[in-house]
Amino acid sequence: MENKGYLYVVGTGLNTLNHITQEAKRHIAQSEHVFHLVPDPLGLSLLKSLNSNLHYLGDCYALTTDRIAAYQLMVKRVMTQLTTAHKVCVVFYGHPGIFVSPSHALIQQAKEQGYVAQMLPGISAEDCLFSDLGIDPASAGCQSYEASYFLLNQVTCNVQAPLILWQLGVLGDFAGERLTCDPKALELLQQKLGKVYPPQHPVTLYEAATLSLYEPRIETLPLAKLTEFNFSQRSTLFIPACSDVVRDESIYLELKKHQLKELNNV
């Protein structure tokens, strides 16, 4: 298939001036057109210093009836530009592939139409959470769900691993229209979690710091008081494991036996 041009989708991280990668900066600087959805003014200033040909995608929200339609419009705008440009870069806040559906749609459509398309990693809220809460997902695994998805679906919750629920600020959103946490949905989430975690199990509200001046927001309450949290649009819920993992003795012994046999054969 003919190579018609290049599309790069990059992220700024949560605190743009500190998190944006060198790779992302180079692509922003070297592109003919840069589309962006960066909500912080310091990040915007950095983009301006790298490339003067910026196109803001945020106005798509005002031009459409809901967020889904806004995302479709964003994709359409970028794809239209791509037909006439050699290299286009699209910049999203945080990690461009996490909770950003237009970025995935862009990569898919661009590839289908014969463009070279690549998504570059950025620092995500989850990366910040692991650092700020001192969590190592390698130690006991980690479950991560969008909060409304978790609530509205029959998800099997593993209490032997930490659970992260994202976007409490729009909990209960069905149609991409809600911008606040539905109190009824929060009550139902508490009930759902209460089926597998004890009432006194600690749950932590977490918000990454978006300005270097500030510390992350970290507040912990027992699950029984979940509804007392004042969730913002940036809030995430972290729930630690409440049960230790039990070793699978049969597999352990079989593997040990196999490895001993290998050693004896050397």
Binding site: L42, S101, G176, S212, L213
Partner: protein
């Protein structure tokens, strides 16, 4: 756009020592950057929306979470 506020926030980001200085003497450091009383109140209260509005004179910036709701209808 508040240039003093922007310079203050960028400098604190790029120089961790300034962040430590801010923790010790918030008003003193903000006075050094000639922040207005209104700006100092916003910074001290961690009023992110207010800070964003004060810094931005171009776009009606989208809040973070709006762009991060994952839907698969595209």
């Amino acid at each position: 756009m508040s240039d003093n506020l922007k310079r203050f926030l960028v400098d604190v980001t790029e120089n961790p020592d300034l962040k430590d200085q801010y923790k010790k003497d918030k008003t003193g450091l903000m006075d050094q950057y000639n922040l207005t009383k209104e700006e100092q109140t916003m910074v001290a209260n961690q009023d992110l929306d207010g800070i964003n509005k004060a810094l931005n004179d171009e776009y009606d910036l989208a809040p973070n979470s709006i762009i991060r709701v994952n839907k698969k209808q595209l």
